[in-house]
Symmetry: C2
Subunit: 175 residues, 2 copies
């Protein structure tokens, strides 16, 4: 599909409410179950999305607009939520994610980015040259990747419970 | 995780609102884009979930409670929504799915199922003997499978837009 910032923002705006509707108030087994050692539960994912909004997407956009491709983005800690979510409830994380995302979108709108800005180039520490448009598209796809992950992790809690039907369930897969 | 009908219902109750929050009001490109020929868009998925609630899950449960494993479930048409969704808007399908699901859960509660009922056995046309508990667990996992699908299909609309970041995005995958 054609990329516009408005289309990207339309998804970014909806992710917190969608995850909230799916997860808030669920029995803990659904929200703390994961896929095994070193994998994430829905609780972990919400903490990760929140941390990424705080430290990754807009800070990288601002870094790109300031430094162009002369200075790589600072690294992003993909495991920080293990510490930052400690002692929090899922409801608190969902509330904070919603507030943080809303604040990010206000900040983004205030940047009044033009098509020329979206074509500007920064430097990713691994990939090299990337555009601002690619960064924002990745913000969207990253949200959706983690929505899919939450649904998959939850579904897999029923791997045994569904019996032979697992053959039809893509998120679980055949035995 | 341990299986209880209450845990299953907790998810079934949340799916329509979660998909509604994700999809309602999005630009059409997001909701009608698919993964290529013979694949489904988010619009198609909502029609499918609605059709399955109408014709598959509770009708099969009632069939099982009536016939045990003497008579296989009637087949389920997994492509019926191609016809039944025609001329509908996504907003209409989301509204109807929410109403249909709520009505199903009222009907389910009124069945006052016991643990013994959940252990009762029916006959799947392909798999043979399946329990009522497995049927309901599959209802839940089927919801989650399609939530994951909706997120994946949407994310893949940005396969080009994310540039080199696709290497980090599981729903898109490396080039």
């Amino acid at each position: 599909m054609t990329y516009t910032l408005a289309d990207a923002v339309a998804v970014l705006d909806r992710t917190p409410a969608s995850l909230d509707a799916l997860l808030r108030g669920l029995p803990d087994q659904w929200t703390t179950g994961n896929e095994g050692p070193e994998t994430w539960s829905p609780f972990d994912v919400i903490g990760h999305l929140l941390h990424a909004d705080r430290t990754d997407w807009l800070p990288r956009a601002e870094h790109l607009l300031t430094h162009g491709d002369t200075l790589p983005f600072p690294p992003f800690d993909r495991f920080a939520q293990i510490e930052t979510s400690k002692g929090k409830t899922l409801a608190e994380l969902l509330d904070t994610f919603r507030q943080e995302r809303a604040a990010c979108l206000v900040r983004l709108a205030a940047m009044h980015l033009t098509e020329a800005d979206l074509a500007r180039v920064g430097r990713h520490p691994e990939f090299g040259r990337v555009t601002l448009a690619q960064l924002f598209a990745t913000w969207v796809a990253h949200d959706l990747d983690h929505v899919a992950q939450v649904a998959r992790v939850m579904g897999r809690q029923y791997t045994e419970a569904v019996g032979p039907w697992r053959a039809y369930l893509r998120i679980i897969g055949p035995a």
